[in-house]
């Protein structure tokens, strides 16, 4: 219990940010027409690829001889990049079709 309270007090700014972001997320997509559900999901999928930053931090902080961390970190970077790059490219491909149509 003490631990949880401590975590809360130490990170209150972040917890505030989390709560505001939750409402922002809801607000931002609440008016999405059904037409855009798939691209939106795909775009959101690319955005959570931001987890790649965590893998880069691991690599930067790893001791140059800590090979376990380096190897795992390398895989994490590859996985994160797949998520980011693949996600944005797939979304862009879907949305290209919408664009063509407007001519």
């Amino acid at each position: 219990m003490v631990n949880i309270l401590q975590l809360f007090v130490e990170n209150r700014e972040f917890i505030f940010l989390i709560i505001v972001s939750i409402f922002l997320g809801i607000e931002v997509i609440s008016n999405v027409p059904a037409v855009l559900h798939t691209p939106l999901m795909s775009g959101a999928n690319a955005i959570h690829g931001v987890v790649i930053i965590g893998s880069i931090i691991i690599m930067l902080e790893a001791h140059p001889t800590n090979y376990l961390a380096l190897i795992l970190g390398f895989f994490a970077v590859v996985l994160g990049t797949l998520n980011v790059v693949g996600g944005f490219v797939v979304t862009n491909r879907m949305l290209e079709m919408f664009k063509k149509k407007e001519k």
Partner: protein, 469 residues
């Protein structure tokens, strides 16, 4: 001073990235700005990645290997990711999204593994933060294995399998994972073996979670796993005190959850019911074969005559249209009918296909204009004025059992009420069941005629018949 400057630039870049994520999501919600929104978010992501590499730590010579591996990872990921994303067919888009989502989940899980290893080797950390690491591991792993199963199922490589007492097992696993995380956070000496057990159980849970789910639930599952990965990313952001990860992850987590809830509503099912996972298992057994009547086939010529002399035609597209890649062909039919003064539009069920909005994307590819795509409610309101409904490769979303058979697993799901129209033609490859694995009494109804064959093939024949009339 230089260090302070670097950190300031880093934080500014994170703020900029967070803003691009918000703007990107916002713009993705409107058709004419969506593409720009996606690009803006991508630029923001690029800035955040670059800034992290350059400014997070001071560049030192003894870490050359670290930097080399980061660059190698980025290059490998970019090359593979781009190739996969560019090669994938429109029909396989949903599983592609599911696959990339799984990669993000795996990334989050690996981060947690490394961080736990730090803790094991003398790193000091509060037990609260340890819980954050463990939650990142659990959610990331579930998201990874679940997404891969969803990918396999959509590719047709994995069938629906329900374990006996699968629901109870899932609940036990879920409680077990949470209990273990709490135990690990509070025990004085965490052992390395614990985290591998937790990893294994989480991966297993992801598999068992998605395995029994079939039918119309697949879009919901992908959307849910998408928001899971968002949450896993947010836990990482919390761990590192990183605003870009936090806002990006939370935004996707909450937006993805709302999208999931909207889809559940469209199918009249509760999220809990989806999470516990029961759709596919009970569904097949509940289908009764008792009230089958006879099926009436229609020839291509008769179907063409029916269409050409109608005033109003509505197409109900489904996954079969996507599989046959018949979106361009159906648009051609629309143009030819238009020349003959027949008004043709499309009734889009929110969960037709394998993803929300799947049909919209598909028809957009074939340049079908927006106003021709009717949402389910509008289509149903207008259904009594429609002369011919052409159901192309859709099944569950037009199954009257959803309205009149309380024992059916899809009972309560809103459907497109094609029987309110004057005539119905169902184009189908065979008498096979839909994705939910249940019988469709529509096929045996008086108003309905079946036109068997590949959707594209049949549509091409229809077009040439209509032309010759």
């Amino acid at each position: 001073m230089t260090e302070l400057l670097g950190l300031s630039i880093l934080e500014l870049c994170y703020i900029a990235a967070s803003i691009t994520f918000i703007l990107g999501l916002k713009m993705l919600s409107s058709p004419d700005k969506a593409r720009k929104g996606n690009l803006i978010a991508a630029y923001g992501m690029g800035i955040a990645i670059l800034a992290t590499i350059l400014f997070k730590e001071e560049l030192t010579a003894d870490k050359w290997l670290n930097y080399a591996l980061i660059l190698a990872g980025l290059i490998v990921g970019t090359v593979i990711g781009t190739r996969m994303a560019l090669k994938v067919k429109m029909t396989a888009m949903p599983q592609m999204v599911s696959f990339f989502n799984g990669m993000g989940g795996a990334c989050a899980a690996v981060i947690s593994l490394v961080e736990f290893d730090h803790v094991m080797h003398g790193g000091t950390i509060s037990s609260g933060m340890l819980v954050v690491i463990l939650l990142g591991l659990i959610i990331g792993s579930v998201s990874f294995s679940g997404s891969i199963i969803a990918y396999g199922k959509l590719e047709g490589k994995i069938g629906d399998k329900a374990l006996p007492a699968g629901q109870i097992l899932n609940i036990i696993l879920l409680l077990g994972m949470l209990g273990m995380a709490i135990f690990m956070a509070n025990t004085a000496e965490p052992q390395a073996i614990y985290i591998y057990i937790l990893l294994g159980v989480s991966l297993l849970y992801g598999v068992l979670f998605v395995m029994p789910i079939g039918g119309a639930d697949m879009p919901v599952v992908i959307s849910l796993l998408n928001s899971f990965t968002g949450m896993a990313a947010a836990f990482g952001g919390f761990l590192y005190g990183n605003q870009a990860m936090l806002t990006g992850g939370i935004l996707v987590g909450s937006a993805g959850t709302i999208l999931t809830v909207l889809m559940c509503k469209a199918m009249n099912r509760s999220l809990t019911n989806v999470i516990i996972g029961s759709f596919g298992g009970g569904g097949t057994a509940a289908a009764d074969d008792g009230e089958q009547g006879t099926i009436k086939e229609i020839s291509v010529t008769d179907a063409a005559i029916l269409l050409a002399y109608a005033n109003k035609v509505t197409v109900v597209p489904g996954y079969g249209l996507a599989v046959a890649q018949a979106q361009h062909t159906v648009h051609n039919l629309e143009k030819i009918l238009d020349d003959k003064g027949v008004e043709m539009n499309y009734a889009i069920h929110p969960v037709a296909g394998r993803m929300p909005g799947h049909m919209n994307v598909l028809l957009a590819e074939a340049d079908v204009p927006y106003p021709k795509l009717l949402e389910m409610e509008d289509a149903n309101d207008d259904m009594s004025n429609v002369d011919v409904v052409l159901v192309i490769g859709a099944n569950d979303v037009v199954n009257p059992a959803a309205e009149n058979d309380p024992s059916s697993p899809i009972y309560g799901m809103p459907i497109i009420k094609v029987l309110n129209a004057k005539n119905v033609i169902v184009m189908k490859r065979s008498m096979g069941k839909g994705y939910a694995g249940i019988e469709n009494s529509l096929f045996f109804h008086d108003k309905n005629r079946m036109l068997f064959g590949d959707a594209k093939d049949s549509l091409e024949k229809l077009i040439s018949e209509v032309k010759s009339l």
